[in-house]
Amino acid sequence: MLSFLGSAGMVVALVGSVLLVVRGFRAARHDMTANLGGAAQLLLGGAVVAMGAMVLALLTDDFSLVYTATNHARATPFPFDVATAWAALEGSIVLWGLVLAGYTWFVFRRYRKHPDRLGAAALAVMGVVAIFFFGLMITVANPFEVCVQAVESGCAQSSPWPFATVNAPVDGPGPNPLLQNHFMMAIHPPVLYLGYVGMTVPFAYAMGALALGVAGPEWLRRSHRSTLVAWSFLTLGILLGGWWAYEVLSWGGYWAWDPVENASLMPWLVATAFLHSGIVQQRRGMLQAWNFILVISAFSLTILGTFLTRSGTINSVHSFTQSAIGPALLGFLVLTLVGSFALFSTRADIVATSPRVETLVSREGMFLANNLLLSVYAFIVLVGTTYPLVLEAFTGTQVGVGEPFFNRLAVPLSFLLLLVMGFGPITPWRSAPPGLLWARTRIPGLVGLAAGLLTALTVTRNGWVVLAVTLGVFVVGAMTGLLVEQATTRTAKTPETFSTAVRRVVGGDSTFWAGQLSHIGVVLVAIGIAFAANLGTHAEVVLSPGEAAQFKGYTLTFESPFRQVHPSKTIVGARLTVTRDGRFIGVVEPSANFFGSAESAVSTPDVLHRPGGDLYITLLSTPDNGAATFQFDTSPMIWVLWVGGLTSALGGFLAMAARRRERSASRVRRAADV
């Protein structure tokens, strides 16, 4: 029944996307206002039904679906049973389809209000992407196959035909243990997908503009705004991923330059570059071709990332499946890249804009530097991730590329970016008079150096930390100086108080200041990483019950081992009390979780969150024979990293809201003019 419902949903969504392509292109070509509502409704409705059927199957323990039979168990508790809907390959494509349909709906709503050729063409392009994903669902990654031959907790044979005679297992093996360990796993993928799939919208507008042969500010405005949406979610998604890794993966880290992480970082870097270079086109009408390339790249990188992590061609923590989906994704990637670059070439005459950069010491120059650094950054991640694969394909030589490689290149590049980030906002457009630039640099520079000195004298003399603090304070100082300067100018001209003037300055260009908030977030991230990566400490200790160990001023006493049997898992752990200077601080319970019938255990660390830094305790060997081995880690200031990431995403969302306000305000103004 649910198989039928889900399959029907997929087919309806596919029909909707085909209709969207046909009608959208017709509307775009003949410049008529076609009714695209039916198609968009079919697409969204079908996607919602498909996702609903999936979730319902999991909630009702319907093991007639192969997906449920292989990824779910009766004992799987809420919310992990719902989260299982996107924990495995087929389900994650359903989520992808749903998010894509949702974004298409938003594009359609805009079109319904203001129908135009660009909107229709963009909807048609989104339809093409939707055809691929729903086609994928129906063919090689069908999540609604029914089980026709059950085996013990699993399924031996399946049929894509919803009415096939069902032979369902009584129970399933449950989801991948790593993925049912933390509530974060339930929200991390949807947020990440909101970012990933969101890159389709700017791509659709860009392709629509190229197909129609109408370049100029209009496509850019819409692409830019939708990139802001996707970027904000992607920022949040990457942050949640890092947080999940930190809380769950037992090594006290948050980022390992793993291919899956890299796959989300690459589009983020390119989207960040576009958010900046888009401003240049809006303000100065140049870099249009480059912006097209960035938008195409950001979208293609989301597909490439999905390919790399889902095709089994690269090993990684998250690459749990090898599947036939690889060739399909690769084919789509080629189609996307070749199609869009070919379109780009045929429209080269309208894409080209003349550079009007008087001097590189200008806001334009800063943006160019920013784009160069971000592009090279994305290139490094791409090359590092795929190099082993490419080299082995050509020479058969096997090499590894990992954290040390990426850190060595990414760290200096990140500091360069911080430097540009400090100078960018205080550099005027067209040409920066050296005097003005110096006047705006002077005080932030002094403050930054003072902060660096203070850090070196009181906290640590670690070079990376000192550099991060110096540059970070400089960046924040520079933007604060700018705010003060503009507010002071206002108070001189108007009777406003200083604080009102500050509010007015920020409100007058809220997009810009929201962007500066994101910059503050990035600074915090940089400082958090510098502290956690360079000042963390680490110890491995064997303790018997009753014994205590000293670690970084803390006293950790191994009170007792414990064993808890839950319906879905058995937890074997150790209870420790933590004191500092005789004062009780907390109890930690690092453990190993055994899920279902699986022999495999997942080590679950326990983290004591402290303002100065986290105390991170991992159980390395289970206390079956009395003594247990523990790993103690400190991660100083790691909360700064989380706060920074959230601030960055918040800046993005505020910029989005600000642009909405500006748009409606300008519409009101226009209406008043008439």
């Binding site: 061609t313 670059f341 080269a348 080209a352 694969l389 490419v390």
Partner: protein
């Protein structure tokens, strides 16, 4: 003409994309985690390990002149259980031909391995050895078990089976070594990496 350079940028992008995709496509069906052992053709790493039940250690140099088959196993490894009978029968079959089988316990306490051997049965001519600190496993570059190494009479590693072996593959490798050939690396299936997943 305006934008001629950009046109070629577009074509360049498309061609680069295709070239990249062709390289990616050539990797389909390969296991990215599979590594060719650098030990093949090299002198076998020495070991000097005590039997699981204790007693006099067995070292590789004691076995000089023999063909030595070094197998890494554990009771928690399903593939190891599956191949156990083949290892026993092959060891017994070649007992008179100066072929010595050495089974080294991997990431498991000696009592646990002994319990397992007590139920699974053991070959009287095989050395079952403990590997404290996994030093020998590290020296042989074990990624996951079962892995089985073949050392010729000169002490050179000439073959490796990754995954579950069977009597035919084992015997054929020994036959090849007897003929003076190097069996090389064979992948028969999955390996397990650790008891805890």
């Amino acid at each position: 003409m305006r934008g001629r350079g950009l046109r070629w940028v577009g074509y360049g992008g498309a061609i680069a994309a295709v070239a990249f995709a062709v390289v990616l496509a050539s990797r389909f069906g390969t296991d990215p985690g599979l590594v060719d052992s650098p030990l093949l053709g090299q002198p076998a790493p020495q070991f000097d390990l005590a039997p699981l039940e204790g007693g006099d250690p067995v070292s590789l140099s004691d076995l000089e002149g023999d063909i030595v088959v070094v197998n890494f196993f554990a009771s928690w490894c399903l593939e190891c259980r599956n191949e156990h009978e083949a290892l026993v029968s092959t060891a017994d079959a070649f007992a008179d031909d100066d072929v010595t089988f050495v089974s080294i316990s991997y990431q498991e306490s000696p009592p646990a391995s002994l319990d397992y051997l007590a139920t699974a049965g053991r070959s009287e001519v095989t050395h079952y050895l403990a590997d404290p600190g996994s030093r020998t496993a590290i020296a042989y570059g074990v990624f996951g078990i079962p892995e089985t190494f073949f050392i010729d009479r000169e002490g050179v590693v000439v073959g490796k089976i990754i995954g579950e072996s069977d009597a035919f593959t084992l015997g054929a490798a020994i036959d090849a070594i007897e003929r003076g050939e190097s069996p090389g690396q064979t992948v028969t299936g999955d390996t397990q990496q650790a008891p805890d997943g």
